[in-house]
């Protein structure tokens, strides 16, 4: 079975007159049907850009300079924007917004936001049909249907996020991309939202989810597979448990050791252990991007870009794991 979404050697750059930001540099990734892929990385590593590329929501100054984006074999990168809007976004690939506080139009009631959204894709429905559809879905997901008559600012943060998720999945998209859906929420609300996502997935309302976060602790609660991103590149991809308990890439290792250790003082130390700052994406380094900060880095790491190495069900980009040999 072909993967649901496939990124094939994708390069995406922000090209402005002040310079170029190399945000995504040669990412290849497959998202199979029925999986929840967590994409983890520090802020500024290109995660959100990657999310955009996955939907092909690419508009100036962002450009897809190389590579293909295939949704069930269809090359999204060849479709014009209006066709993407009409046929793909919201319907096949949907997005849970990053900053949910402002992601809903403040001057529209929730039901009107829904109406506009649904009618784009199903112009044949009349308003009442849309409303009843929304009501049904809200009930199904255990959301208060009174929220439909309210304005976004009248909802609590958690409720707003859940409503956003409900809207995003209203048309049963195959793939749901959730970009930091919980980062603005407190822990208990985070749980509720994660539960909701899981439920959508369990009930098959969405087939697959891409869950983007900087927080490994969160991704651990939901993902089936995990991809670690660094400086616009994927450094390691693999099943959740494997990657977390037995990281193979030095960056993954450091990332996990810094976060998963329960004691706060260790955690603090862990953070210190990743010396330096991520590279400036305006001038990406040659060779392995992590070489500058990697405690095991060799001359080769600084010189040559590592190639992917398959180890079991995992894929690693590192010279130490033989990335140069392939």
């Amino acid at each position: 079975m072909p993967p649901l979404l496939k990124l094939d050697d994708v390069y995406a750059q922000y090209i402005t007159r002040y310079g170029t930001v190399y945000a995504v540099n040669g990412v290849s990734l497959e998202i199979g049907e029925g999986e929840i892929l967590g994409i983890v990385g520090e802020s500024g590593c290109g995660k959100s850009t990657l999310a955009r590329v996955m939907m092909m929501n690419v508009k100036p100054p962002l450009h897809l300079v190389r590579g293909r984006v295939l949704l069930q074999g269809v090359e999204l990168n060849r479709l014009p924007r209006d066709r993407l809007k009409r046929e793909v976004w919201g319907k096949q690939v949907s997005l849970v917004p990053q900053s949910v506080m402002n992601a809903l139009n403040p001057t529209m009631r929730v039901r009107d936001i829904i109406r506009d959204f649904v009618k784009v894709h199903n112009p044949e429905l009349d308003d009442d049909e849309v409303y009843s559809m929304a009501r049904d879905r809200f009930e199904e997901l255990g959301l208060d249907i009174r929220a439909l008559d309210l304005y976004p600012f009248e909802l609590s943060g958690g409720m707003r996020q859940r409503v956003a998720i409900a809207i995003a999945t209203l048309l049963n998209p195959k793939l749901l991309i959730a970009d930091e859906p919980t980062s603005a929420l407190d822990v208990s609300t985070q749980k509720v939202v994660l539960k909701l996502l899981k439920r959508l997935w369990n009930e098959g309302i969405v087939k697959s989810i891409v869950f983007i976060t900087h927080d490994i602790a969160v991704v651990r609660q939901i993902a089936t597979r995990i991809a670690v991103m660094y400086a616009g590149k994927i450094v390691e991809v693999g099943p959740l448990e494997e990657v977390i308990f037995k990281p193979l890439h030095p960056y993954t290792e450091l990332l996990i050791s810094s976060i998963l250790t329960p004691e706060p003082e260790v955690k603090k130390r862990g953070l210190v252990e990743i010396r330096g700052a991520p590279p400036d994406l305006r001038t990406p380094p040659r060779g392995c991007p992590f070489a500058e900060r990697c405690p095991y880095a060799t001359d080769r790491c600084r010189r040559e870009e590592p190639r992917p190495v398959v180890i079991g069900s995992r894929l690693i980009y590192c010279h130490l794991r033989g990335g140069g040999a392939a």
Binding site: K85, R86, W89, P97, S99, M101, T107, D116, F117
Partner: protein
């Protein structure tokens, strides 16, 4: 009590208080500035008709006593309040023996008929075009629109008016050079008069309308650019909501601040009206106010300020209500507060 009633009551209370303060100010201010209302009237007499000093002295006394200006100030004030309470704005000194209310009510319709449509239309069109320019940001269309806005909003008003006058009235002779209608006609509901009225209406309307588009367009563009960059717009976009609808979202969401601007602009509209009236010799209340001020006609200043300030207050009151209708944040805020 229903929250809306409460809201209305609170607003009414606020505007009534403002109105009373305004009443006091309109009485005090003209009298506080140096100069004397009657002396200017007297000057007119001295320069035109008088040849005997006795006549001038006689006229001076008569004027003072007719307008009650020889009474102590507090008595004048009580008098003034009493009259205002009875809806009487007194007799103009400069335009004696016209009653201030007659002067205003005969010229106010013209100002309203010119300003309300011109300002509303320029506001609407300016906002639509501004939003559109923001949507097409950095394209040729945007560049063209934006530079037009800037030029229109920056050209001094009277120069623009004179430009229209010189081009279309004096040179091309398409439109009349002055007035609100052909002077040979008597205002009446006849086809001739209406045609003449609209013919004379065109240039003053255009001058306000076009400069207004500039002002509103620049503002709308800036605000809409912000809107288009906002998260909700981004999100709606990535959910497949089409461009035309996004344009409408942006338009609707810039309306609220723009309505504020509109109601604040109303006070200045009187000034704008004055310039239009002057350039096109169009009938209206602005010039009346101006004449009243420079001749220090207390009665006229008081009267016109009461009318102008009341209408601005009223407009603000209506805008407050409009807000509530358009922006739920404000409405809900009021209701829940």
């Amino acid at each position: 009590m229903h929250p809306i009633t409460k809201f209305l009551l609170r607003k009414i209370l606020f505007y009534t208080a403002t109105f009373i303060i305004m009443l006091v100010i309109t009485f005090v201010l003209p009298r506080a500035i140096p100069g004397n209302a009657v002396l200017m009237q007297l000057r007119q007499f001295m320069r035109t008709a008088a040849t005997n000093p006795e006549a001038i002295e006689e006229r001076y006394r008569a004027l003072l006593s007719y307008f009650g200006l020889d009474k102590p100030l507090w008595e004048q004030f009580v008098d003034y309040l009493w009259r205002v309470a009875h809806g009487d704005l007194g007799v103009s000194i400069t335009f004696f023996p016209k009653r201030v209310s007659d002067l205003i009510f005969s010229s106010l319709p013209w100002s309203l008929a010119l300003l309300v449509p011109a300002y509303t239309a320029s506001w609407f069109v300016g906002n639509v075009l501004g939003t559109y320019a923001a949507h097409r940001r950095n394209t040729a269309i945007d560049n063209a629109l934006f530079s037009t806005f800037v030029v229109l909003s920056q050209v001094p008003y009277f120069i623009f008016g004179f430009f229209l006058l010189a081009t279309f009235a004096v040179q091309m002779r398409i439109f009349p050079t002055y007035g609100g209608w052909d002077v040979g006609l008597v205002p009446s509901l006849t086809w001739d008069f209406i045609r003449s009225y609209l013919h004379h209406y065109a240039l003053p309307f255009l001058s306000i309308f076009l400069t207004g588009i500039g002002v509103w367009g620049t503002g709308a563009r800036t605000m809409a650019i912000y809107e288009f960059g906002s998260d909700y717009m981004e999100y709606a976009d990535s959910m497949g909501v089409p461009e035309s609808r996004l344009l409408r979202y942006a338009f609707k969401n810039i309306l609220v601040p723009q309505i504020t601007g509109f109601s604040m602009q109303l006070g200045f509209a009187v000034g704008g009206a004055l310039l239009t009236e002057i350039v096109f010799s169009y009938p209206g209340v602005g010039w009346l106010l101006y004449r009243g001020t420079i001749t220090q006609d207390y009665m006229l200043i008081q009267g016109s300020f009461i009318v102008v300030a009341s209408s601005v207050l009223l407009a603000n009151f209506i805008t407050d209500i409009l807000y509530a209708v358009i922006d739920p944040r404000i409405r809900k805020g009021y209701v829940s507060a």
